[in-house]
Subunit: 783 residues, 2 copies
């Protein structure tokens, strides 16, 4: 765990002032740079020590067999795992015969700064070698938003006291040895996954081409350099199959630093030939070199200025939370910015956690932010889903279903979950995708997307639901034997979240084909089929426990034994590491918001009283052994008036990685939780709802926050909402006038009319308690 | 599939008149010999061709890791698999330089006969070699019921026309190459599982000692021979680590056959040293040799005479069914006769199917026959369970439960099921064991067993149930999230079979400790604990669907969509090979009797009308993709008056292996189905019930049977029931007078008074239909 206070509190940067090798892996995740296309972990320039070396290329993976002691029909036979690609960020340094290695010598300064506006990671070091030679090093790294195949490093080294012989070795390394993880046979399978196809150097440039052994994906990685002409540099380049190195050596004087720019480029493909990829990378390097370091930096900042201008969320009163919120938004931006046609994995490209897979997280937690903050990235993420539709249709056919069954976890579209009760059975992912597409359409009015992708996503998922459910003898439509969001339950009947999500999906599909006869025709939807979707949606079973006055998460859930929290020691969390699934599944204990997620996502289907009662019922059962819970609990806590609790949950979501709350940030940051902090702010305290495409607001701040300002893109508009404890102010920065609701009252906002409205008072019920030892992190006074 | 007519119909033997190499593996299972301690598949003496070479020693297994792509708490890490032990039955033959191999030359006669009264497998061959030399071979094989470590072979070879040089090579072979089974990584792991510790020969004797690589079990295998002194035999013996051979050669004249007796002995242990096991086998051989072939044959027949005298079931009208019934009883006898302290696996010792594991089958299907036919074998099988109690208690603790949680599948007592929804969650195995123990106690009055084993089995399983269930707010006792007998459902609430089985278990445990305060004290049961068992039993939830007037298999079951049988093609059975579990689990389709098994096992908890309605409801849903179903359906079909249907089911159960109905008899015979044929006869048409230890009868014959006679051991008595279409006759052959019910009327039977009673007429409802293509085998006119 990174101890509280590791990073300075600052509005626009995350700065680490000392180097703690014990938390190196975590800081590598925090300091990871990515543009959604390529991702570099915040590894030290000189390559080691490291926590987990990582260079990731979106969609570049290896396949491996999934083992089963007892196989079953439809079990996926092959898994996919993100591969640590050729490492281009290594720059080693020799100072008067002593290798620059922080484990030796004396470190008088070591600062790393992630600049959220510049989009760079800067490192400043002052180090005295074991032989008492002192150098200053300053490096700046970026992964370009402007040129998606390019990363670049500015490397500046300077002796402090006396002239020194300096040797800089800039490298490409393939098949880096990874740390052994106990009990991880897949890790072993990934070692040496890259087979060399070509290597070569030319002047200060080198390119390595490799291919993955089993998935047969080809990758080219290359570098080129610009070096000062001021020094009398000796240079040499050499390459081997898994290795390329350019060496620069010179005698350097104090006050006359050596400055080197390294451009790194990647290209990868399942189809393109070795020469084609080699030349692609070479061209990318030429372009980057032509652009130059200064212009790459300028373009980087312009891209971010534009993003923050349109999407920044400002909070008053809690600088640390402000920092965490922007840090999270920055990582979400990095995950989606240039992911054109590829997935947004659960960890983005910041680590190899979850094998680099994308889950329902993307559509449910990440896209809600991107839709309003960077709609093009949301569109591209949905386009990626659409590009895997053939695989999802094949999977549905294999499962005996109509339409499309998207995978629970995947890189390339094939189902990679080997444990079907928490994979295949979690069909809600299909509605999550469809509902996210509908939300994108509603928020952007992007009709072209409907025709290209969105309509087909809605239709094929609606077909799935219609074939997955059935009418019972009373005419109710049931969806039996599925797993909802809560992973401590599985294979249950009529999960409320799933049924409401499917209902929305069915209605949106029916509406879409009704409004577009061409689309209906193209997809073969006739009036009978659309009517059957509406019928199923309108007859959807939503179980309710009359005796308790609450919604059971799934049918019969409230009859199950409550988990014995009193006999569960604090160190027995997360529960799934200490108790069998069979026991978790059969008892009332919630890993992550499920019914409460339904309250948030389908809030128009519940009364305020129902929300309050349901939230009060599920809070004492919800242990948050998943990072996908706190943000949702924040939203509903805020809605029902438990603002202090909502604040605690938002804090937990936002600090997930900066404070390493789940002790696994080493594997990559928790993209959904970081996006969830935005959700907690904008949807929770900001009160923004978009059910069925109608924007409504019911903002309300906790005592800890003096002010909240957020901006949303909505159908070509930029809308700003400023909330204080007393009032909300709605401003339209651009676009057509818009009618919205403020706490139920219709208001019209235009570029000329800023609207102010008071915040009505809400008297909440008794503050619900969480399970023992499971109060939110933010409630423990850390925020 | 063995085609109908492969075996001659005869009352006391199974005779194959021609050799069909295509079904060799099946016939090896059918002709397997065993005494429950060691088992020899019916492989040809000369070793090849073979379908599956097999020599099995009860409890001799190898361990291997169980792989998981996604691991979970409490998943078993290690599996167990029966090992093909050192093969001692090989006797090769060289006829004037030509190896005796049925794939070459000309076979003018090949008969194999399994004699159900002699307990032998006899083979008669007349073969002309490719060089036109003709020999007659007659071999007889037995696995001794009298000397459990011993098998023996009489081997007689004779030239027909001219004197011939004959070489007989009698062998021991360890680590035999096994046929490769596709997609069976465990098979590969078992190759070469035996590591040699010692080998040696002395005169005509040889012993090999091996140890399994991972489980570290030691095994000694040895042979010795007696040969005719009439011939001028040259003999030689040699051994290697995996191999021993004794060669006998002579010039043999027509009319003066060479006769050789081979004695084979085995010893195995996890603890005993190499010298100890070596000497144990040597002593066994000495004893067998001292006994001699004739006396081994005589003792074998005496053992079987006694068994058939006490347990034979005679049916009139259907000779083929009579044969199948006795064949089945013979195999069940073989599986249990001398299994002292070890398990009865699902395949007995006839094949390596299911890895040689024992399941709930033993207690639920096999023991009901053994309890009345060979109670000592039933007792020993239950003693084996008791011997694994420490492992079951450890497992319960691991699962967070009280008492004992017996494994779903195992050889040595550890859970070996890697798929928890159909393994760990199938808790009913614990009640199956307890209820079987109670049945044994009731049927035998074996009080010593209560004190030694039975009481503790009842108490520890009762503790499990009490901790597994809970009271809901209305005071009903629920058992949620468990899997019942039907493997096409899983992880459901309040499975009727499970709840009734647990209820019986709880009540029997409470009664037992009430009647034995010493036992209660020894096991730490106080009055409160026993009362809590009774309370739970009496408050047990038994769901009922009022609208349909039937019992749902589990709560909510009847709301699920019915399986779409119309769209299921005939070649899509068994369904689990063609449809995913998720889909099977969520629909109404029954793999094997579950609610109907509850009707049979806990028939006193249902009215006649309920049974008729429930049976009618479940018949069209039950596909019998398991061999554990037909016998139970026979019992209830008979009870509700569908006698013709019951007859078809009995036929299916009885012919499971003789006709290879499930196309997998090659892996071993289906012990539960074979025992189930006895159940169908005695419990089904014989109408015998023993709920709570009270013997009752409601016999009724189908038109196909003219007569049924069966004998039961009951508390020291031998009771005979003869049933015709008109009447039942009850005779006591030995023991105290006994009161029983005949169709509800109390009658008293004594050695002096045979009682005759008429069979009351029963008008059944409409004959229920089975799913399309799934009518019982016996209904298709094959019986």
């Amino acid at each position: 765990m990174i101890h509280h206070g590791s990073y300075d509190v600052a509005p626009w940067e995350v700065c680490e002032r000392t180097l703690d090798l014990d938390v190196l892996a975590q800081s590598e995740s925090v300091f990871a740079l990515s543009n959604g296309h390529i991702g570099l972990r915040g590894n030290l320039d000189e390559g080691e020590p490291f926590g987990l070396p990582g260079t990731y290329l979106n969609g570049f993976y290896e396949t491996m067999p999934l083992p089963y002691a007892e196989a079953g029909y439809g079990y996926p036979e092959s898994g996919q795992s993100v591969v640590n690609a050729t490492n281009g960020k290594i720059i080693r340094l020799l100072v008067a015969d002593e290798p620059f290695d922080l484990r030796y010598g004396r470190l008088s300064r070591h600062e790393r700064t992630l600049d959220l506006r510049a989009g760079t990671l800067t490192r400043e070091v002052e180090w005295t070698s074991p032989t008492e030679d002192t150098v200053k090093l300053r490096t700046t790294r970026l992964v370009s938003f402007a040129q998606r195949a390019i990363a670049a490093i500015e490397y500046i080294v300077e002796p402090i006291d006396t002239p020194l012989r300096i040797v800089v070795q800039s490298e490409l390394v393939a098949n880096e040895p990874l740390p052994r993880t106990e009990g991880d046979p897949r890790g072993a399978m990934l070692q040496g996954a890259l087979e060399s196809e070509r290597h070569g150097t030319h002047e200060l440039r080198a390119i390595l081409v490799h291919r993955t052994r089993s998935s047969e994906l080809r990758m080219a990685a290359g570098y080129d350099h610009l070096a000062d002409s001021a020094h009398d540099l000796q240079t040499a380049s050499q390459s081997e199959p898994d290795f390329a190195r350019t060496t620069l050596s010179a005698q350097i004087e104090p006050g006359s630093p050596l400055r080197l720019i390294k451009f790194i480029a990647y290209g990868w493909s399942a189809r393109r030939s070795m020469p084609a990829l080699r030349d692609q990378v070479s061209a990318g390097l030429a372009e980057a070199k032509h652009t130059g370091w200064d212009d790459l930096m300028r373009l980087q900042r312009e891209y971010l200025d534009d993003f923050w201008e349109r999407a920044d969320v400002v909070i008053g009163g809690e600088p640390r939370l402000q920092q965490a919120l922007r840090f999270g938004m920055f990582h979400v931006l990095q995950s989606g910015a240039r992911n054109e046609g590829r997935a947004i994995p659960a960890k983005g490209l910041t680590g190899s956690g979850y094998d680099g897979h994308a889950f329902w997280d993307t559509e449910t937690f990440v896209l809600p932010m991107l839709i309003y903050a960077l709609p093009a990235a949301a569109r591209d993420a949905l386009r990626w889903r659409h590009s895997t539709l053939d695989k999802a249709q094949h999977r549905a056919e294999q499962l005996g279903l109509e339409g499309a069954a998207f995978p629970w976890r995947t890189i390339a579209g094939e189902e990679c979950s080997s444990y079907w009760p928490a994979g295949t059975a979690a069909f809600h992912v299909n509605a999550d995708i469809a509902n996210s597409a509908a939300r994108y359409i509603n928020a952007t009015g992007d009709d072209g997307f409907i025709d290209d992708c969105g309509g087909e996503l809605l239709v094929q998922t609606a077909r799935l639901w219609r074939s997955l459910g059935h009418h019972d003898s009373s005419g109710s439509f049931r969806i039996d034997g599925v797993t909802g969001p809560d992973e401590y339950s599985a294979v249950a009947d009529n999960n409320v979240f799933t049924n409401l999500a499917a209902r929305r999906n069915l209605l949106d599909a029916a509406d879409t084909v009704e409004h577009s006869p061409e689309l209906a025709h193209a997809l073969g939807v006739d009036a009978e089929e659309a009517a059957a979707w509406r019928d199923a949606a309108n007859a959807m079973t939503i179980p309710y426990d009359e005796a308790l006055g609450v919604h059971p998460q799934s049918e019969g859930y409230t009859d199950h034994a409550p988990w014995d929290f009193e006999r569960t020691p604090p160190d027995a969390y997360p529960l799934f590491l200490h108790y069998p699934y069979f026991d978790l599944y059969r008892k009332q204990v919630v890993k992550q918001a499920d019914l409460v997620l339904a309250l948030a996502m389908f809030g128009d289907r519940f009364t305020a009283e129902e929300k309050a009662r349901d939230f009060a019922y599920y809070e004492p059962l919800t242990v948050r052994d998943s990072s996908l819970s706190a943000c949702t609990q924040a939203v509903i806590a805020a809605e029902v008036g438990h603002l202090d609790l909502a604040y605690a949950y938002m804090t937990e979501a936002a600090l997930m990685d900066l404070d390493d709350l789940e002790h696994n940030s080493r594997d990559g940051v928790h993209m959904a939780s970081l996006a969830g902090a935005w959700v907690a702010a904008v949807v929770g305290f900001g009160g923004m709802r978009d059910f069925g495409g109608e924007l409504t607001f019911m903002p309300r701040l906790p005592d800890q926050l003096t002010r909240l300002r957020y901006r949303l893109g909505f159908r070509g508009r930029v809308l700003e909402v400023v909330v204080t404890s007393k009032q909300a102010t709605y401003t339209l920065h651009s676009g057509e006038p818009l009618k919205v609701l403020h706490h139920g009252e219709e208001i019209e906002i235009s570029e000329t009319d800023t609207v102010e409205r008071p915040i009505p008072h809400l008297r909440p019920g008794k503050r619900p308690r969480q399970p023992p030892h499971r109060e939110p992190f933010g409630a423990r006074g850390v925020g």
